[in-house]
Symmetry: C2
Subunit: 722 residues, 2 copies
């Protein structure tokens, strides 16, 4: 019986893999892991400062806040935290809104309360009967809830709570996710499975995911969600579906999350039985008023409507010779009595307009400045085309001072590698928010436009197109969770630094070990530039394949609408490449403030990252580093591939700091990203080489396939082709 | 500071709800919970008998078996189990296949090895050097793996392992799941989310779910899976997809699971560039030979093809004037050199055939008996129509002695309430398997037909249409997991009792507490009759709504094909109700063996559960209990509703035995089931009442709505309408 497989010992390690159901759960828990605090000194401090928790109220919101505290603290401190009925003992964690506080406490918080708005909070060490306690309060219960999450974040990120004294409040009112989810549960640009909303089982079955979705959003201050696709289906407004929407609204309410719906402009015809949807028609106006009343009867705190009108085939006021103002104001009048708002999208362009697509939204909307009702907010994508890896800020920002504009970011990676590419988007978001519109002189950043401070707007908003689906890990790629998290944090405060956000997300999601946090943070921060380099360097844009938008397709030129074809955007020919939007070209630069226009117009001052967005340049054009445009572009593509390889080698060293499940997941995904980065490099360079007629610089690797091969690739069932 | 909310204490209980991410994971773990053994006496016995585990081999299969043992035992015994390099100590758990055993052990196992086939196993307490050990062995590594799962099941179900002595082997060769999954990840009849197969991320991303799917199947002996829909897309046979299929096959192989694909008969045209798919055409034959070679080059153990041909619009040999034998044999010849099989479905019926739809499959296939190649197996649904809540066994069983027939059960609840109705299907499966065909005298059960014992067939098979999707709990309804489990157990041994299966599933999935197991088992066993009663009592069938098949639609009469309309099946009129399939009617009874035909033909001997399947009877017909048919039917509908109410009250008492997450989930789902049971009762009785013209008996509750209301209901996005 000594025929024993000694090499068998070699197989002991992989065996741990089996315990993966547990880790799958870690994937599910997002940044709310509440893992046990490893630093014993800190753990001792935390425990000494938190003898028990005392809730001063029992509203639904305070209840869920209390649940969250119990869940979080029991995990972080690895001990059951008592909910006390009084604070006779020292070091209680007390939470409740302003109205629940006694005078003796209130009088010491005047300064802090003055600093915050209704959603803000105060976290402060206070004395009650000369005993120390930590108080979490705010003007509303939701403010307290946000404070609870901030307090938990302190413990999650190794921060001392000795004499804590924090007062914080959101800078933007409407912090909202847009779900492009269809009623059949497909998601228009979804790469993490399918829609969370199980319409078949609603309203009577409340999936635990709805609750955990609300918890995750509340933890980062997101306070609204648009449940359905901007390419809308009117059925969502029928009683059959409103009953289901109501159930979701009831589930989200304690978490401070309002429900919004997209309104299909032709709904009065499709479900109302009217002959028209003309916003001037009395019956149509009345239909929307009655429909709105019906909605608010079910959902008293319904947020309002999001509308995509006369865009990419969606119906709108122009079908009746009316304009965006007519349409938006009609809906605004319907929701106004109930305090609702209308978010009207500015993402419009027409195949009948021969002008540069990048100019059309500005041309169409800016003349309407000042004509919208005060409960209308115009939703503008970050750039003038469509969520490309890099775009200059949209010229509409700052150009409509009398109209509140809200930002539309895309969290789901339609053009950035789906859920297989690791791309840390807060870096992109921050680049846009910090951009200077110069509309009121230097420092008139996009952030100041959307937080309302530049033009003193009451309604302010920021929307993120969700990357959330029913995959167990919510976002398909474990690191795509950071984009959901980062969007929420920047929505709360557009001035936050993306590096600080990466730091806290990594600590909350994976580990506080500096040997993990520092290199992986580095990897995150570089990841966005990497994808720009291997997809669309130097200002290139919209050269992806058609329909699903997966992979490169610079050669596509046969689509019915000219501005749908990549060739429309790169304009590569033997003379060079790039879209001349300067004053010698489409004059798109004239849509910016003079100071900005001047910078973009002049090829010498135009940032090289935006070079080919604004200029058509010869292949021999000399870049600042002395390289020719052709060589520089080729090296950028190679650089992108190399950066992914560097990400792989960084991650491969992290096995000791993360659970094996997520470690392997990310490893597999980085392998795919590396493969696809080469695909982008090779396909684009081989295609452009036909025009440049030049050799690839030595440092660029040999193409892995022929151009014919790349052009032959078809992906009939890629997400987005559904 | 004494304004403290004392009622706040009331809110402590619900707070536990927050710890649900943990429970969501329990949902995910299926019957492989491996929860700590509560019975301390047993725990002591188990620990004393399992000092450590010793693997005698290190094949991939033995490795995963070892991992499973470590995971299972560490959970059940709440202690880390050592993997030993030798068995010098007593009470080792030794596992390895026959070839790894020493002579001295082998000689004592002759009897056991004679009892088992290649997939069987032996679990036995043995002596080595006069020391006791437990040995798990078999003729193959997969047999050992099955034995490991059986051994774990002993511990999961409170069974002593004192002097264990078990030898078991599967009675059917091909135990397979059919996934009706499309390449866009929709599932034709899926009620648990969407397809598990993430084609977009394959082949390079191996989702942990693939591994846990394989573990769950292996644990119940399922050894094959058809990845794609029987309504097939030829693209699955292109290199782009075969590369992905290969990755899944590699993942499943260690778990003893073979991959099969559906073959679209017209593939030679659609992806082969041929002008025809005629099975007599040399190019077509050659195309399939070459395609098969290509598949086996990637997947040496590829299982073979499943084909739906000339059925419901699918292409097939009849398009070329050939027949099912021609089509099946052509494919059989292609896979034969590689040991593959062809599963050819008998689910055929034609709108051009005016004969009773229930007769058409028999009429078309029975004449072919003996003409199929010996690697063809004909796949027959359990009944002659289509997976109804109850159907008499399909007359083809036993009628083709020279042809192996495999059973097709539907695990997904297309006609049984989707994933919101709790229905324990093994009860249905067992009813069919125990049915007596009388083809070789009394006792010629369907089970003996499909296990090959009645007609001595080498190839035997049983297929279940999967109810698995990407919901976290796999099957949408926590109790639908029992149907996956029960199918696998009956596939292993069609003579198992559904009550015993319910008992072990409940213990493994929830609790061994008798106060839980006994009442809930009772609930499971009654659940199937409940759904029959509130949907289709007394032999009614096919009266569901159209397309999605969700809810009642006995009034539907406007569909293009007569046999698609419910009115075709219930034939209700003022004279009565039911489909006369006796010798005075469609003569479908003549397709059964004379003994069976006699029973069904005579209204006196025909089982009342099948009454209206075989007979059209007047509303005043007297049932055995003395009630008129109308009253009896109405009371059956009411009985079904009452049984669901009883299930609710049973479940509501189980809160202490199951985690709160699953407790609440099932509670919500039972509420929906109760609501929908009333919907079925009211819609059907109000409709049939138009013909009977009779009052409802007193014990039947008043209808909740009008017939007009029920007829007006539309479900455009119900699953199945995708």
């Amino acid at each position: 019986m000594n025929r024993l497989p000694y090499i068998y010992i070699l197989f002991l390690l992989p065996m741990l893999m089996i315990s993966l159901n547990v880790s799958a759960q870690e994937d599910y828990k997002l940044w709310l892991q509440y893992a046990k605090v490893q630093d014993s000194k800190l753990a001792t401090e935390y425990k000494s400062k938190i003898n028990g928790i005392v809730a001063l109220e029992n509203s639904e919101t305070i209840q869920v806040a209390s649940k969250e505290l119990q869940l979080g603290l029991s995990g972080l401190l690895d001990t059951k935290i008592e909910v006390q009925q009084n604070i006779d003992s020292e070091n209680a964690l007390i939470f409740g809104s302003k109205s629940s506080l006694d005078e003796d406490i209130l009088k010491n918080l005047k300064k802090e309360f003055d600093q915050i708005n209704d959603e803000g909070y105060i976290i402060k060490t206070i004395q009650v009967k000369s005993k120390n306690h930590i108080l979490i309060t705010g003007k509303t219960d939701v403010g307290v809830f946000y404070g609870v999450f901030h307090f938990l974040r302190l413990l999650q990120t190794k921060t001392s709570i000795e004499n804590v004294n924090i007062a914080d409040a959101p800078k933007i009112n409407v912090r909202i996710l847009n779900h492009w989810d269809n009623l059949n549960r497909t998601v228009e640009r979804g790469y993490a499975g399918f829609s969370l909303w199980n319409w078949q089982k609603l309203p009577d079955f409340i999936d635990q995911r709805y609750i955990d979705y609300a918890r995750a959003n509340a933890s980062i201050g997101i306070n609204g969600t648009v449940l359905n696709n901007v390419n809308a289906n009117a059925l969502i407004l029928t009683p059959q579906y409103l009953e289901k929407v109501e159930a979701l609204a009831n589930t989200f309410r304690p978490y401070g999350i309002k429900v919004y719906l997209t309104a299909r402009f032709s709904a009065p015809i499709e479900i109302g039985g009217l002959k028209t949807a003309d916003p001037y028609d009395a019956e149509v106006k009345n239909w929307w008023k009655e429909k709105t009343k019906e909605i608010y009867k079910r959902i008293p705190d319904f947020g309002g409507f999001l509308v995509k009108a006369n865009s990419e085939g969606q119906p709108g006021p122009q079908n009746y010779g009316r304009n965006h103002v007519d349409g938006a104001n009609m809906l605004a009048d319907a929701v106004a009595p109930f305090g609702g708002i209308v978010m009207w999208r500015a993402f419009v362009y027409s195949e009948h307009d021969v002008d540069d697509r990048a100019k059309q939204a500005y041309s169409e909307f800016v003349p309407y400045d000042g004509q919208f009702r005060n409960n209308v907010i115009v939703q503008v994508k970050n750039g003038a085309i469509d969520f490309q890896p890099r775009e200059p800020f949209h010229p509409m920002f700052g150009a409509m001072p009398k109209t509140p504009l809200m930002m539309e970011f895309q969290i789901t990676q339609e053009y950035l590698g789906f859920s297989t590419h690791l791309v840390y988007l807060p870096k992109l978001f921050q680049e846009v928010l910090k951009s200077d519109t110069y509309r009121k002189g230097k420092g008139s950043t996009v952030a100041k436009v959307i937080d309302g401070s530049l033009d003193n707007h009451k309604i302010t908003g920021i929307a993120g197109v969700a990357n959330i689906g029913n995959d167990i890990n919510w976002t398909g790629h474990p690191f795509a969770q950071a984009n959901w998290y980062g969007f929420g944090r920047l929505a709360w405060n557009p001035n936050l630094d993306s590096e600080a956000i990466a730091d806290e997300w990594l600590r909350m999601t994976f580990s506080n070990d500096e040997n993990f946090v520092n290199p992986v943070k580095e990897m995150l921060l570089k990841s966005r530039e990497a994808v720009v380099n291997y997809m669309t360097p130097l200002g290139l844009h919209h050269i992806m394949d058609t329909g699903h938008h997966y992979g490169p397709g610079p050669w596509v030129s046969n689509l019915s609408r000219p501005e749908w074809n990549p060739v429309y955007y790169h304009k590569a020919d033997k003379n060079g490449i790039g879209f001349d939007r300067s004053k010698t070209g489409s004059k798109a630069t004239t849509q910016y403030a003079p100071e900005a226009a001047k910078i973009f117009d002049d090829v010498k001052t135009c940032p090289e990252k935006d070079l080919l967005w604004f200029h058509h340049l010869s292949w021999d054009y000399k870049l600042k580093n002395g390289q020719t445009l052709w060589n520089g572009m080729a090296l950028k593509y190679q650089e992108g591939v190399d950066e992914v390889a560097a990400m792989q080698s960084t991650w491969n060293k992290m096995g000791n700091y993360v659970d094996e499940h997520r470690f392997k997941e990310v490893q597999m995904l980085l392998n795919i990203q590396h493969k696809e980065a080469k695909w982008w490099r090779d396909a684009c360079l081989l295609y452009f080489q036909q025009f440049s007629g030049k050799e690839l610089p030595k440092r660029v690797e040999k193409p892995t396939q022929t151009l014919e091969y790349f052009e032959s690739l078809k992906f009939p069932f890629a997400p987005g082709n559904n």
